[in-house]
Structures are given as structure tokens and as C-alpha cells.
């Protein structure tokens, strides 16, 4: 803006300001951080999408065969012709993935490996290949085989592009059934979590019960552990050797029941925060009016309370839906034979090495995730206009009976949350569940177990600190530039879109996309593949959206006048940024850094595909230990994550408190 003052008057009949040095610097920042998002988000996703349309099929017309039954060599024919004669494979049978192999002798009528018949095989075009036993043959020469050798010849497929993978996916019931399974658990978990969380939030906002502070701390605890921790707790509570096994009857915890119970646990705090916010902004005048008009409590609840909280409820519902449908750790641990999409991606890639099909399942999982995200965004935009300046905050009155009921309810929910954590800690200290219940620390001997040992815990701390530090700088700077830079509408629009995108991308999808994009030898960035750097980048990108929105909210509270004043004082923008913006927004900046820290400690989904020997993480170690059957050590590691996060949260709390005394003193007069 400073440039408008220095522009020569005679040249400026038009008022459109020319961008000055400050503006260009800010634009450069937007472009750099925007480019970061393009490289770490848009490109990998594109690589994944293009992988999903990579198809592999056996091209039988590429291979020629000659047969010698003792009367000299027959005329060369293609294998395609051979196949037509015996009608062995239909075109659909010839679809495969990159490491497919097809036996040749299956297409030869009356083949016997004992017969003296000789065979010659030739690959006619470059790029084709066949296997002689396990020897790969890629030349275009004739190769001769005895019958006994020829039975060991297999053809290799060639690549092409098309939608065949999707056709294959939807024609395989064991694959597409997962769509219904995933939707089923997401919807049921959503209904249960929202009901429980709403009642809890209602108790917090509308009762005068005691110990609200304690309840608040307890309900936030599930955020501090990976989603697979409740899965492990459920094994000890309701598994075949579980304490409460008798409650299960002939039902098994390994399956939808376990996934839903665990999902309710780990999504509860997310739903609570959103619903509580929407309940706390209700206007007391509406309740007074309802009371004055003689409406019953019930009627007030349905005509005032619920409608007032409706945006919060809808938003919370979709957040829960999204968290459950994209979660990988919990169904992996407790899902048993119940397949869901997120685990399918892992199984396709890790189990069958079918990367193309993994990409297809990723695309399928993207659809509900994107949809839920979009609806949530639309609803959230509507919520802002509910409070007016004349609103009076609602103050609950003492109602002994109501308060007691609410207290009992909250105590039960709180006890359940604590029980999940305590059982994990207890199981971690038991020597050999259930046969030797003496206490011991053997389960903490991570170094002799799968998963990377104690170094995976220190790696996690390292990752969390770096993600928190670098992420906060990148995100907040990006948000500042995009919020305060004048003009440059197009660039800002693109940036906003990119910044919102990560929230709609499930972690599994992002992780797989990273393999495709970064582990490509033609990509100059592939040097970071297998390093901690790529994990930091992946995690920052994965959690970009929420932190970006937090920054924007904080920045929007700052009047634009600051910029004008600073400009008129001829101060460069960075001085304003460092001396005013950052200190004023410090509480939000701290919130962002703790959010990134906690999530970096607990996340599994994206990083499961890109960790390397030097960069195993605590949460992934947990998963791998559980996978190998070392469930108690997995619980022990889970609790280590909890303690690390709880400590970080405590430090965050103390820092924020001190901050309010120093830079934030102006907020209270």
C-alpha cells in the first residue's frame, strides 16, 4: 500500500494501486507455500489417480510358438491363436497386475511334461517378457524347450491405460462389500457418538454439576492416544481372555462391535468440542421467552436447544463419519474378518503387492470422505451468523435432580474412558496374560520385539517436535499472507483450495500417493524417500487444513487497520508481522503447535507406507507389535505415547497461561 503514496501524481488518473515491494514479497510467499502444497499434495494425488488407471494384461498375440512332435517344426503361430483353439482364457481372465504370470502349457491341448515333444517360444516385440522357470527372458530370439522344461514357462503381462481396474474391483464382491461395511460402521458409530457426546456436552453447558473441570480433562484424553489403543484395550476387556468376556455372550469383539466401540471412544472428544461450542453460544433470551410462554422443558429442548445446536450437531456428525471411515489402526487391530476400505488399501498393497488395486480402493474411499467434508464445510459456514451483539449468554440454574442425573451420566462416560487407558497400562505391566499375572517390565523391552524398539519412540518425539515447529511456521505464515496480502485474488483462491484439500484426503490415500510420487526414480525429489524429511512433510500436509483454519480465525480477529497504520508509517509488513501479528496471535500459534505435535505422535495411516528402518515410529511400532501378537508391549508403547502427549499438553497449558500474563494482558482490562 505504501506505493500509492510514492506513485507520481501526474501518471495516476486511475486509482488501481500498483503492487509494491511488500506486496511482491507477500505474493512470493503465497506462491512458495502454494508450490509446497502442489508438490506435496496435488502431484502425489495425481500420481495415485494415474496409477489407478494403469492396467496390466497378458498380450497373447506378442508371443509366437513352434511345436516339434518329432516330424519337424510346425509353422509359428501366436499364443493368441493357440488360446482361441483350446478356448482356455476369456479376455477378462487375461487381466492381471504388474507381477502377474500366465502358464503357457495350460493353453496346449493334451500337454504332458513326459512327452518327447519339443517347443520353441519367441517374444516378438520389445517390452514383452516371459519366464523360463524363474529366469526372465526379454529378448526377441527363439528359445527351445523340452516338454519338461516348457511346463515351467510363464508369460509376463504388458502395461496399458484404462478403467479395467475399476471394472475388476466392482466385479469382485469380496472387495466392494467393504464399501457397505465401511459405511455401516461409520454411520452406526456416528449415531452413537453424537448421542453420547451431545448428552455430555449438554450436561457440561446446561447443568450446575460439580467436577466439570475434571470431566473436561478426562474427555479430552482419547485425543492423546492412537486410534488403535482402544482396540487393544477392548481385547483385554472383552477378548476371549478379557475381564468382561462374560458380557459378550457368544458375540466376538473382533469385528464390527469392536470397531464401533473403539470408534466411539476415539471420536468422542472431537464431537464433544464441536457440540459444546454450538451449545455454549445459545442465546439466553430465547429460553426466557420460551419460559414466559409457558413451554414445557421438553418443548423448550426440542424447539430451542436442538435447533440452536443443529449446525454443531451436523458438523460433528460428519467429522465423526469422516474419522471413522478413514481410520486404519482400529479396524486393523480389532476388525477380525470384517473388511473395511482403509484396511483393504493396506491389504492390497502390502499383502498382494497389487499397487494398482490399492490405488483403486483409495479412489473409492476418497468419495465418501470428500462428500462428508464438503457437507461439513457448507454447514460450518452457516453457523457463524447465529450470535448477535445483543445475545445474552445462557447461565444454567441449579436443579439438584437434573444435576445429579447429569453427573451420574458423565461419571459413567468418564469411567469408561479412564478404564480403557488403565487396562492398557495394567496389561502392559503384566508378565504373561492370563497365565502369570505377576507384575514385570518385560513388555517394555521393545528392542527385542518387532516395530523398531525404543528408537521408534524417540523417532516419534523427533518427528512430533519437527512437525510442530516447521508446520507452525509454514502454516501460520501461509495463512497470514493469504489473509492480509492485497489483491492477487486468483493466487489466493488457488491457495485456499489447496489448503482445504488435505482434510478431505484420508491418510492411507495420502501415504500411498507418496509412494507413487516420491519413490519414482525420475522424480528429482526421490532422495527424500525413506527419510524423516518426507515423514515431516507428509504429516504437515496431512494436518494442514485444521491448522490453517485456526490461523485464519485468529488473523481475522485482527483489524485490517493495523496494515493501514503500518503502511502509513512506512513500516514494512514483516515488522508488523513480527512485532504485532505474531504476539497477538500467540495463543492460536501455540494451539497449532500442540495440535501438530499430538497428531504427529498418534498418526499411523499416512506414514505406514513411507516409514523406513531409521524412521520407525511409536504408533507404527504399536501396530507392528500387535500384528506379531505382542499385544501387551503394544499397549505399553501406546501408553508411552499417551504420557508424552499428556506432558506436551501440560507444557502447552503452562506456556499459554504465562502468555496470557504477558503478551495477552490487553485482552482483559
Amino acid at each position: 500500500m505504501s506505493n500509492t503514496l510514492s506513485t507520481p501524481l501526474k501518471m495516476a488518473p486511475k486509482v488501481k494501486p500498483k503492487a509494491g515491494r511488500d506486496d511482491w514479497v507477500m505474493r512470493a510467499f503465497i506462491i512458495v507455500i502454494g508450490l509446497y502444497l502442489i508438490v506435496t499434495l496435488a502431484f502425489p494425488l495425481y500420481a495415485m489417480l494415474s496409477k489407478s488407471v494403469n492396467t496390466y494384461a497378458f498380450d497373447l498375440s506378442r508371443f509366437e510358438i513352434q511345436i516339434n512332435k518329432g516330424q519337424g517344426w510346425s509353422k509359428p503361430t501366436t499364443i493368441a491363436e493357440l488360446n482361441q483353439q483350446v478356448k482356455k482364457h476369456k479376455p477378462a481372465d487375461l487381466k492381471t497386475s504388474s507381477d502377474g504370470r500366465l502358464s503357457v502349457v495350460d493353453m496346449i491341448e493334451g500337454f504332458s511334461f513326459r512327452s518327447p515333444t519339443l517347443y520353441r517360444l519367441r517374444n516378438t516385440q520389445d517390452g514383452g517378457a516371459f519366464l523360463n522357470g524363474s529366469e526372465r527372458v526379454t529378448d526377441t530370439q527363439w528359445h527351445e524347450f523340452t516338454s519338461n522344461k516348457f511346463r515351467r514357462v510363464f508369460l509376463k503381462p504388458v502395461g496399458a491405460t484404462g478403467l479395467d481396474n475399476f471394472v475388476q474391483y466392482f466385479s469382485n464382491p469380496s472387495l466392494f462389500n467393504s464399501i457397505f461395511n465401511s459405511l455401516f460402521i461409520a454411520i452406526v458409530s456416528m449415531v452413537i457418538t453424537i448421542t453420547l457426546a451431545f448428552t455430555f456436552a449438554y450436561a457440561m453447558a446446561r447443568s450446575k454439576m460439580r467436577f466439570k473441570g475434571v470431566f473436561k480433562i478426562i474427555t479430552m484424553m482419547p485425543i492423546l492416544v492412537p486410534s488403535l489403543l482402544p482396540g487393544i484395550a477392548l481385547v483385554y476387556l472383552f477378548g476371549n481372555q478379557g475381564i468382561f468376556k462374560f458380557l459378550m455372550g457368544d458375540q466376538t469383539i473382533y469385528g464390527p462391535i469392536g470397531i464401533i466401540a473403539g470408534s466411539v471412544f476415539f471420536t468422542f472428544p472431537h464431537a464433544m468440542i464441536i457440540i459444546q461450542t454450538s451449545l455454549s453460544i445459545s442465546d439466553a433470551r430465547l429460553y426466557e421467552a420460551s419460559d414466559a410462554l409457558g413451554a414445557s422443558k421438553m418443548k423448550t429442548f426440542f424447539t430451542v436447544t436442538l435447533p440452536g445446536a443443529r449446525y454443531g450437531l451436523i458438523s460433528a456428525a460428519f467429522v465423526v463419519f469422516n474419522l471413522v471411515i478413514t481410520d486404519f489402526g482400529l479396524p486393523k487391530v480389532i476388525g477380525g474378518q470384517f473388511n473395511v476400505l482403509a484396511v483393504d488399501i493396506y491389504k492390497q498393497v502390502i499383502g498382494q503387492q497389487n499397487f494398482e488395486m490399492g490405488a483403486v480402493v483409495s479412489v473409492v474411499l476418497l468419495i465418501p470422505a470428500m462428500l462428508a467434508f464438503t457437507i461439513d464445510r457448507i454447514v460450518q459456514k452457516k453457523q457463524t451468523s447465529q450470535l448477535s451483539a445483543r445475545s445474552v449468554p445462557y447461565e444454567p440454574k441449579v436443579n439438584k435432580r437434573f444435576d445429579r442425573i447429569m453427573f451420574t451420566y458423565c461419571a459413567i462416560v468418564g469411567a469408561f474412558i479412564l478404564m480403557v487407558l488403565l487396562i492398557c497400562q495394567y496389561a502392559a505391566l503384566i508378565k504373561f496374560w492370563p497365565y502369570d499375572l505377576s507384575l514385570s517390565l518385560t513388555n517394555y523391552n521393545f528392542d527385542v520385539m518387532d516395530g523398531g524398539g525404543w528408537s521408534s519412540f524417540t523417532n516419534s518425539l523427533k518427528l512430533a517436535v519437527m512437525v510442530s515447529f516447521i508446520g507452525t511456521i509454514v502454516v501460520f505464515t501461509g495463512a497470514y499472507m493469504v489473509e492480509k496480502a492485497p489483491g492477487f485474488g486468483f493466487g489466493r483462491g488457488v491457495f485456499q483450495f489447496l489448503a482445504m484439500l488435505p482434510m478431505a484426503i484420508p491418510g492411507m490415500v495420502l501415504g500411498l500417493a507418496y509412494i507413487f510420487f516420491f519413490n519414482n526414480p525420475d522424480n528429482p525429489l526421490n532422495v527424500i524417500y525413506g527419510t524423516l524429511t518426507i515423514m515431516v512433510i507428509c504429516t504437515v500436509t496431512h494436518f494442514y487444513t485444521v491448522t490453517h483454519l485456526t490461523s485464519l480465525t485468529a488473523l481475522k480477529q485482527m483489524d485490517k487497520e493495523f496494515e493501514s497504520v503500518s503502511a502509513s508509517l512506512k513500516q514494512p509488513f514483516y515488522k508488523l508481522f513480527a512485532r504485532v501479528t505474531v504476539p497477538v496471535c500467540m495463543p492460536a500459534i501455540l494451539d497449532i503447535s500442540i495440535y501438530l505435535f499430538v497428531n504427529a505422535m498418534t498418526t499411523v495411516s499416512a506414514l505406514i507406507f513411507i516409514y523406513s528402518p531409521d524412521t520407525t515410529l511409536a504408533s507404527i511400532a504399536m501396530l507392528n507389535m500387535d500384528d506379531a501378537g505382542d499385544i501387551a508391549p503394544a499397549a505399553a508403547m501406546g501408553m508411552m505415547i499417551f504420557y508424552a502427549n499428556a506432558t506436551a499438553r501440560l507444557i502447552h497449558y503452562l506456556l499459554s497461561k504465562r502468555l496470557y500474563g504477558t503478551t495477552q494482558a490487553w485482552r482483559t482490562r
Binding site: 492381471t96 507381477d99 504370470r101 519366464l131 522357470g133 524363474s134 529366469e135 526372465r136 515351467r152 469382485n172 464382491p173 469380496s174 467393504s178 481385547v235 477378548g239 476371549n240 481372555q241 466376538t252 473382533y254 469385528g255 477380525g336 474378518q337 470384517f338 473388511n339 491389504k347 498393497v349 502390502i350 499383502g351 498382494q352 503387492q353 499397487f355 504373561f432 492370563p434 497365565y435 528392542d447 527385542v448 520385539m449 518387532d450 519437527m466 511456521i473 509454514v474 509412494i515 519414482n520 526421490n526 532422495v527 527424500i528 524417500y529 527419510t531 524429511t533 515431516v536 514483516y574 513480527a578 523406513s612 528402518p613 531409521d614 507392528n624 500384528d627 506379531a628 501378537g629 499385544i631
Partner: protein, 343 residues
């Protein structure tokens, strides 16, 4: 100004420093080794090797067979590993077919049992030891549920075992695949699918790893875990109330093998490691956990290892197993994976 711009620059510098320092490319004297050896043995293997070659540092990448195989295949065009030391023979045959292994005849390879060496000259891979399927049976939980210990594979089809058996998913576990592949070789392809159809109705669930079924049996989560003998022996040594049962029809087995990854930057050290891996000393080390090793005359009995196991090992055709792997796994998935309903 100094503060913010300065910290930004620091951030960038930090990132680029990270790229430099954490890059995985192994330097001379350092080998990135991919393995599926049990985690508790890794340190011992490295330490024993380092006694003879203190100048070569081993960086382990350890995961279950399926995962390591997937990782190697994913990195086909950009290999991160220098050496594979201790991965299923079937997986190595698969990689040989993809042209991912560098053939090399380690010094002293002629002393090994021929079964354990790749037929190509020079061999693309060399075997170390064999791990053998077995059934872990929890006697305490079996008694509680009124079960009789099974003696054969076919016994497991009996209705009394309904929901009492856990086995590894062959799609992710090498042990699971060797079970399926051994049933195909013993019962014929058709007979094997019929057998597995029956077994499927008794299976409580399939696990991702091959050791988990035995660990779950050891912990009493399930009475019967189809796993491998070595895992059973270890759990039993820890005090788990389990018996290791060798089904009478015969048991599948798989060898662990080693190879140099084509395109390694550190061929010299890789060859040193491979030379050492076929030595008598190395084979004595393998013998601590495996009853069968590649070097004849080395094997000594392993504690709690079932005695009749060796006779029961089937005559395994690894190449056939590797070349049919994809088809068999796809068929398995179609039949048994995700068939379970949300009940």
C-alpha cells in the same frame, strides 16, 4: 523482522540439512539389509557378523514376509536395499523373475545342501535355513472347551473346532502361504481348496502375521493357532501352556534365503556379507532358532522343537509355488477374504 525472516530461513536450512543427513543411501562400510528374521534375533545376527567384519555396519529393515516383499517390489526401479538376508525363498524367486537380484556365488557355497542353492549359475540366491509349519495347541484352553488335541490337518475340519482355530492370511504372511502351498502339494489343487473350504468354517479369523496365531494360542485367546514350529518352541520356553503339534500328513516349509539386490552401490560389502552368510559359523547361528540349516552336519536339536518334524517336511517345489503364487492368492482372497458378513 530479524526474528521472523531469520526463523524462516532457519526452517528452510533445517529442512535441507535433514534431507542431507537422513538420506538412506548407504555409504561404504554400511549395508541396508532387508529381512523378515524374527526381531529378537536381529541384534545377535549383526553382532556375530561384526565379530568377523567389524568395519561393515548393518542397517536392518525388518518386517513380516509379505510387507518386506511388497516393499522390495515397490522399490523395483529404485532399490533401497543392498542385500536381502533372511527372506522367504518364494519371495526371492519372485524377485528373481522380476530381474531384481544380482547373481553371485558366495565363497563356500558348494558346501551347502543343493536344495538350498538357486539352480542358476551363478545362483541368484542362497538359502540359510528352513522354517516349518506346525500347530500350536493350548492345553489349558483346550481342556476348558472340552477339546481333543488334533493329530492331523484333516482333524481340524471336525465340528468341535468351530471358531477355535486361527491361521495367518496367506496374502500377507509367508507362513500362511506355505501352509496353503503345502496343502496344494499334498492334497492336489482341487483337494486343497475343498480342505480349505471346510477349514474356513472352523476358522475364527485370519491374522496378518504368521507368528500371531501361535502367540494368541500361547495367550489363550484361541485354543489352536496354525503357525510355525520355531515360534511355538519360543512361546513354550517362555512358559506358555502349549503343545506343538506336527500334523501327520506332513508339513509345509519355507526356506529363508539371501541375495544381493541388483543395483546396489556397495557390491563389495554385499559380497562379503553373502560370503559370510553361507559360512559354517553363520549356519551354527541360524541353528539356534531353526532345526534345519543349509550347511550339512551343523544342525543340533533346538529346545522344545518337535522331534519328528524333519521327517514330516514335504518335498517342496518352490518354483511352482512362486509362479502360481499370484493366482493362488487371488483365488484364496475371492473365497475366504471378506466373505464374512457384519453379524
Amino acid at each position: 523482522m530479524k526474528k521472523t525472516i531469520g526463523s524462516l530461513i532457519k526452517g528452510v536450512a533445517l529442512t535441507s540439512a535433514l534431507v542431507m543427513s537422513t538420506s538412506l543411501t548407504a555409504s561404504a562400510g554400511e549395508l541396508t539389509v532387508y529381512t523378515a528374521i524374527e526381531a529378537e534375533d536381529l541384534k545377535k545376527y549383526a553382532a556375530t557378523f561384526n565379530k568377523d567384519h567389524p568395519d561393515i555396519k548393518i542397517k536392518w529393515v525388518r518386517d513380516s514376509t509379505g510387507i518386506i516383499t511388497a516393499k522390495l517390489l515397490a522399490e523395483k526401479n529404485n532399490p533401497q536395499a543392498d542385500v536381502i538376508w533372511g527372506l522367504a525363498g518364494t519371495s526371492l524367486l519372485l524377485m528373481k523373475g522380476e530381474g531384481m537380484l544380482q547373481p553371485y556365488a558366495p565363497k563356500g557355497v558348494e558346501k551347502l545342501d543343493k536344495k538350498f542353492v538357486d539352480k542358476s549359475k551363478p545362483p541368484a540366491w542362497v538359502g540359510m535355513d528352513a522354517w516349518v509349519a506346525a500347530v500350536c495347541y493350548n492345553t489349558v484352553e483346550g481342556k476348558k472347551a472340552g477339546l481333543v488335541a488334533p493329530k492331523t490337518w484333516k482333524d481340524l475340519l471336525k465340528p468341535m473346532y468351530k471358531g477355535k482355530i486361527i491361521m495367518p492370511n496367506p496374502n500377507s504372511s509367508g507362513t500362511g502361504f506355505l501352509d496353503v502351498s503345502s496343502w496344494i502339494q499334498m492334497f492336489g489343487e482341487e483337494g486343497a481348496w475343498k480342505y480349505m473350504d471346510g477349514l474356513h468354517t472352523n476358522i475364527a479369523r485370519y491374522t496378518h502375521s504368521g507368528s500371531k496365531p501361535c502367540k494368541l494360542a500361547a495367550a489363550g485367546e484361541i485354543p489352536i493357532g496354525i503357525s510355525f514350529a520355531f515360534r511355538g518352541a519360543k512361546s513354550k520356553a517362555k512358559g506358555a501352556p502349549i503343545d506343538i503339534i506336527v500334523p501327520e500328513e506332513g508339513v509345509g516349509w519355507e526356506m529363508e534365503a539371501s541375495a544381493i539386490v541388483a543395483g546396489t552401490d556397495n557390491e563389495k560389502d554385499a559380497k562379503t556379507l553373502l560370503d559370510w552368510s553361507v559360512s559354517k559359523k553363520a549356519n551354527e547361528m541360524y541353528n539356534a532358532g531353526y532345526a534345519v540349516v543349509a550347511y550339512p552336519g551343523v544342525a543340533k536339536p533346538v529346545k522344545f522343537f518337535p522331534k519328528n518334524l524333519l521327517e514330516k517336511m514335504i518335498d517342496n517345489d518352490f518354483e511352482k509355488a512362486a509362479n502360481n503364487r499370484k493366482r493362488v492368492l487371488a483365488e484364496w482372497q475371492k473365497r475366504y477374504d471378506g466373505k464374512s458378513d457384519p453379524k
